[in-house]
Subunit: 342 residues, 2 copies
């Protein structure tokens, strides 16, 4: 076990001062370092297997090359994990690493987490939520650069990225429209979440544009789960003027809709077309028939958030940006033309 070489060792091996060595390795100091010297220093560093001590450097530069990722369970929840991946990849690409803290959504824990990250001199913080939310930025953040991920600041004071729920909804609805559907029902949850609000509004506008009354085509479940979807679908589909297609709040509710359709003897997509939201990994592609669903762009949002954060590190006075990330439609087999006898 031999000790790690320090910059001084590299400098000595190259026959220069540590100052020169530092500049040679970092390409700083402009034209100050001769080409030949630079190469000599680089060779010595490679020879010795030198790796800079980021902690020492950070003490000097007040930069740690680390980004804090604060999530309310995001880290550990299957669903939104791709946000981490996106953030991670964008960070690595720029030489940063992610320091992760999960808070279970508890404000006190969030404050603690932010403080713990600041103590470690992170260069910026990503504040991520497990699902699309409108939040207040924790006071503890102080002047630490930050970006909201899958959340929007109530007061618009921070840069943020959220899914374009409206666009995604119109996307799947246009799949139905293209197949000839008009009487499109909506199975949703009664939980007052941001996603529900926007998806519902977009759907209501769409069916209203056909002169239909959204109220008559709406069914709510108590929760956004399979049982919730089942219950709502039974109410919506077990009647003569049932819709020819259903737009589900999410894939989990769609599972329930599938079961309800089966129980009612309705075949998907021949008797009933179904579209949904989230495009969740173990659900949408695994259902039979495959479920057409608007994807939540978790990866892209994570990536965008890091890039925005890094941009703000460069230009601290830039104004905050609210970004809507498109939700592409994953087209599968759950959509067909409406039954002709309708």
């Amino acid at each position: 076990v031999t000790k790690q070489p320090r910059l001084a060792d590299v400098a000595k091996a190259a026959g220069v001062s540590t100052a020169t060595a530092s500049m040679a390795l970092n390409d700083t100091g402009g034209s100050r370092i001769g080409r030949e010297t630079r190469d000599r220093v680089r060779a010595a560093a490679a020879e010795l297997g030198y790796r800079p001590n980021t902690v020492a450097r950070g003490l000097r530069t007040r930069r740690s090359q680390m980004i804090g990722f604060v999530g309310d369970d995001v880290a550990t929840t299957p669903f939104a994990g791709q946000m981490i991946r996106g953030a991670h990849d964008a960070a690595r690409e720029a030489g940063y690493l992610l320091l992760m803290v999960d808070t279970s959504g508890d404000p006190a824990e969030t404050g603690e987490a932010i403080a713990a990250l600041q103590e470690r001199q992170i260069d910026g913080i990503l504040l991520a939520t497990m699902y699309h939310q409108v939040v207040g930025v924790p006071a503890e953040i102080g002047s630490t650069p930050h970006v909201l991920l899958d959340a929007r600041a109530a007061d618009g004071s921070a840069s943020s990225v959220v899914p374009d729920e409206r666009g995604g909804t119109l996307g799947v609805l246009s799949e139905l429209a293209a197949a000839g559907h008009r009487r499109i029902g909506h199975v949703t949850t009664s939980e007052p979440v941001e996603a529900r609000r926007i998806r519902h509004a977009a759907w209501a506008g769409h069916v209203a544009s056909y002169g239909l009354d959204p109220e008559a085509l709406l069914a709510e479940g108590a929760t956004s789960t399979s049982p919730g979807g089942y219950a709502a679908a039974m109410r919506l589909l077990d009647r003569d003027d049932r819709p020819t297609a259903v737009f589900c709040f999410n894939d989990r509710m769609a599972m329930g809709v599938y079961r309800a359709a089966a129980d009612l003897g309705l075949s998907i997509p021949d008797d009933l077309s179904v579209v949904s939201y989230d495009d969740q990994e173990l659900i949408a592609p695994e259902l039979v028939p495959g479920l057409t669903s608007a994807a939540l762009p978790h990866y892209d949002m994570g990536q965008w958030a890091v890039r925005e954060l890094l941009r703000r590190l460069g230009e601290p006075d830039a104004g905050p940006v609210q970004h809507l990330m498109p939700c592409p439609v994953s087209r599968r087999e759950s959509v067909a033309a409406p039954p002709t006898d309708f």
Copy 2:
């Protein structure tokens, strides 16, 4: 935006030297600091909202209070996410934070990741794999303390924790045995993974103990997926002497078995009992009827790994420990007595 207070500010406010302030805050130096002084320093620190600069401290103490977590996609894969949660919680409890890097399993990337972590002076590294594996420890790890998570070192040179696949298998099989089953089939994958090997061996031993020939009760799919399970199950169940129960390699294959049973007109659990492995969130509890499955103790493994790592930081000369984490059975409705006409 006022500047962060430094230790010197606290010391001045309390009328002591920085050395005294440091010791007072950290409770170091034994009985050296008077009670009254200590309180005065603490009060001053609280007053100023002082938070230590961990980077500066780390430069001195060569400790960063950070643990590196390198995973081959673990961070971002739904499945094993609870490992992160377990590691995270255990780390926070001890005042550590997790610095995460994902490598997509690429050895070169893994080496890079380890180096990047070492540059940041992490105190130790967790090497996690997405599924139970036998691995070589990357050479880049050098003398950095490390623990393997959901993986075992081929040469036993590192501490590690993996699921007790054998115990879990026997656990679900004993559910079947208790219900009266003997002719228990096994639907598994032909992929040569560690979990397959152990689960298969445990099952084979079990049925052999009844004097049955495992070969006659075995069906393999090409992949450990729903289609793989479907294909295997069709072969295993579409015959007169079909087993009365099936043990599936994992929940995804069990999904296929459910579909096959439905296609063959077999009702679960009345005509066929099914047990499985993994207890995967969106599958086992969502299937109808609920699937009895041995749970992979991801959370516990993550927790154990961090604790073991911290222990090794304390006693660097301790020998490596190979730990088997129990896989508790989640009992649901997929098991009943064998059909009587058999």
